[in-house]
């Protein structure tokens, strides 16, 4: 079994407006030292998916079905206490907004030390040494170990977040839009940092984002989500070179590539899907230019086309 195996996962939100099927029958695997990119736009369910792996779905959301096997154990069957031991230590998380993820009243040195000591056996001195070494690794001068979060810039705070996530050498790091609020150059620095750290710490990563550029830089495998469903899952090279699902195709053609001399950008007509009353059949069908009558009646199943590629589209069979 792979390090992480998600099967038929369903996460629904019981909101005032109705039942929101945020994640509907999603499954994928993640191996050791692999990076999985989960891409989609707003409302695709990608962030909910990330949170659900750690069982941190906020109310009124709930995991209503499926299984999440981490290191051969189903996380959905574990108690909250057991999950607490796993979070941070074995599965780390990096959030989008570094401003609000760090306790403003805690010096970052103390933050790091506390995290290290909570999950590993170490004396305060040992933990402090590890914290200092970690800061150096992150490109932050260790003289800043006594500074408070507000004294750092956004980019540095994000580095600290990544550092915190990796401090305990987890098996998997889940990064939810880690660079979205950062400037371009800082983003490049963080991506480079993540690449190096992944290599050195040998962790796997789940990268959740709408930025197809950094997914291309970091991910081995890519899952494309739309309206809570998986449209396509593929190895990165094949996905970008030869996208199979009409949504993936359209998405890639709507992103400007600065290296190309001339580009014809397209867009996807129509409106984002209603997750409370999703369209019948394939959820992308109302906006798909290849839609056939069958697409509005039945939901296309995920079909395996090659060893590393699966698509949910009647154009490719099923």
């Amino acid at each position: 079994m792979e390090l992480l195996e998600v099967k038929d996962l369903k996460v629904y939100y019981y909101s005032d407006a109705g039942l929101v099927k945020a994640v509907d029958d999603v499954g994928f695997t993640l191996g050791k030292k692999q990076t999985l990119g989960i891409v989609g736009e707003s409302g695709s369910g990608k962030s909910t998916l990330g949170f659900s792996i750690m069982r941190l779905v906020p109310a009124p959301g709930r995991i209503v079905g499926g299984s999440i096997f981490f290191d051969q154990e189903n996380l959905l069957l574990k108690s909250e206490d057991e999950m607490r031991k796993i979070r941070g230590r074995r599965i780390g998380m990096v959030f989008q907004d570094p401003m609000t993820s760090l306790n403003p009243l805690m010096r970052i040195g103390d933050h790091l030390v506390e995290t290290i000591m909570r999950h590993q056996t170490a004396t305060k001195e040992q933990a402090m040494k590890r914290a200092e070494a970690l800061l150096e690794r992150l490109g932050i001068s260790k003289t800043r170990i006594d500074d408070y979060p507000h004294q750092f810039s956004g980019g540095m705070r994000q580095r600290i977040m990544i550092g915190l996530a990796l401090a305990l050498n987890p098996d998997i790091v889940i990064a939810d839009e880690p660079t979205t609020s950062l400037d371009v150059i800082v983003e490049a620095q963080i991506v480079e940092l993540m690449r190096q750290l992944k290599r050195d710490f040998e962790s796997s990563m789940v990268l959740i984002t709408h930025n197809m550029g950094i997914v291309a830089e970091l991910a081995d495998t890519v899952v494309v989500m739309y309206a809570g469903k998986m449209m396509e899952i593929s190895d990165s090279v094949s996905l970008y070179e030869n996208p199979l699902h009409p949504y993936t195709k359209a998405l890639l053609r709507s992103i400007p590539n600065i290296r190309l001399t001339s580009q014809e950008l397209t867009f996807i007509p129509g409106l984002p899907p209603d997750l409370i009353n999703p369209p019948k059949g394939c959820r992308f069908q109302p906006r798909c230019k290849y839609a056939m009558p069958r697409c509005a009646e039945e939901e296309p199943p995920l079909i395996k086309l090659e060893t590393t590629r699966r698509v949910a589209c009647f154009l490719h069979g099923g």
Binding site: E41, S42, S153, G155, M156, D183, V184, I185, V186, E187, A188, Q189, V191, E192, H210, N211, M212, G213, I214, V215, A216, E217, A219, S236, V237, Y240, E241, A250, L251, L252, S254, I255, P256, N257, I258, R259, Q263, L265, T266, F267, I268, P269, L271, P272
Partner: protein
């Protein structure tokens, strides 16, 4: 061909030595001790011209001053020093009614499609509001023009959407409302401040295309403020790259992007993520981060991070020099 170009080029907006310094609030103690007021030098001596009919890009990261320049041009903020001339008229000289009339010719599309719409105003009323403000049309005629504009920007069916409130629309639709509202007065010049940054990826091209179509139909000129160079490449004719309140490089877009001469521009271009796993990525990542704008580095503001820094760079600020036709760079490396 060259003569034609010269004849056709007409400056619609001229920014001259523009400065905007924001004073930092002093604490009570600092006031007592009469400590010198510190300033954030958001815009520090910026000069450029925009030609009628072009899309002029203003690109930079946070703290570059690009958004502040947009606000100064729209006169949502007053400059600390410098001049802004629109169609040759100094904006500061306009007062009262005259000034309100000038507003008709210059409009804005903001970044946040939700925050820029009054949550208590139906979108039909919001789009028609400029017509009311400037007494151009009322009631029946106003409504007809609004419906026509809504159809034009793709808010269809207009009669159904007319009475909706912003929170009932999607991000892309709201931005279309903002565009309709800005263009219903048929202005000459539009400041677009990151108009697609908060729109879903798959809808961005639609908004850009709409903006360009309308540009052609109405003969508009755009100031396109953005941090996304890939998008800038898609729509801009000329571009100015800003860093910490100054323009470091400017010129025709194709020229600047294919032949960047300022180290910061080089770095910026190489940092843009590429949606292609097999692309060869050599990132020239400058060390460190954007410094505090309260105390910018001496001399060339980029020098602490520049791989080519020489001793002169920390002493004197380099001025913009023309290297190729229309291509300006502020860097000592070229000497």
């Amino acid at each position: 061909m060259v003569v034609e170009e010269l004849l056709l080029k007409e400056t619609i907006l001229s920014v001259q030595s523009l400065k905007k310094y924001f004073p930092i609030q002093r604490t009570f103690i600092e006031n007592l001790v009469k400590k010198e007021t510190q300033y954030v030098r958001a815009v520090d001596d910026v000069t450029f011209n925009i030609d009628r009919g072009e899309v002029f890009g203003l690109a930079g990261e946070s703290g570059s001053g690009k958004t502040t320049i947009g606000r100064l041009i729209l006169r949502l903020a007053e400059p600390t020093a410098g001049k802004i001339l629109f169609n040759g008229v100094d904006l500061e000289s306009l007062q009262g009614e005259e000034f309100r009339r000038f507003r008709r010719k210059m409009q804005v599309i903001f970044q946040d499609p939700y925050a820029s719409l009054n949550p208590r105003m139906k979108i039909g009323d919001a789009i028609g509001h400029p017509l009311e403000i400037h007494n151009i049309a009322k009631n029946r005629e106003e409504k007809d023009r609004v419906l026509a504009m809504m159809e034009r920007v793709g808010l269809s069916p207009a009669t159904a959407l007319y009475d909706k409130y912003p929170h009932q629309l999607s991000g892309g639709q709201r931005q279309r409302v903002a565009i309709a509202r800005a263009l219903i007065l048929q202005p000459e010049f539009v400041v677009a401040d990151e108009p697609i940054a908060m729109v879903d990826v798959s809808m961005r091209a639609m908004i850009l295309e709409l903006m360009m179509e309308l540009k052609k139909d109405l003969g508009l000129t755009y100031l396109f403020i953005t941090h996304d160079l890939a998008t800038a490449k898609y729509v801009c004719n000329r571009i100015a790259i800003m860093y910490l309140g100054k323009i470091v490089e400017s010129g025709p877009l194709q020229e600047v992007f294919s032949n960047p001469q300022h180290p910061y521009t080089e770095a910026l271009l190489s940092a843009v993520p590429i949606p292609d796993p097999k692309a060869d990525r050599k990132k020239l990542i400058p060390k460190g981060e954007i410094p505090n704008p309260i105390n910018p580095p001496s001399g060339c503001r980029f020098h602490p991070r520049c791989p080519y820094a020489m001793s002169i760079c920390s002493k004197d600020e380099p001025q913009l020099q023309e290297t190729e036709k229309g291509h300006y760079v502020a860097c000592y490396r070229l000497a």
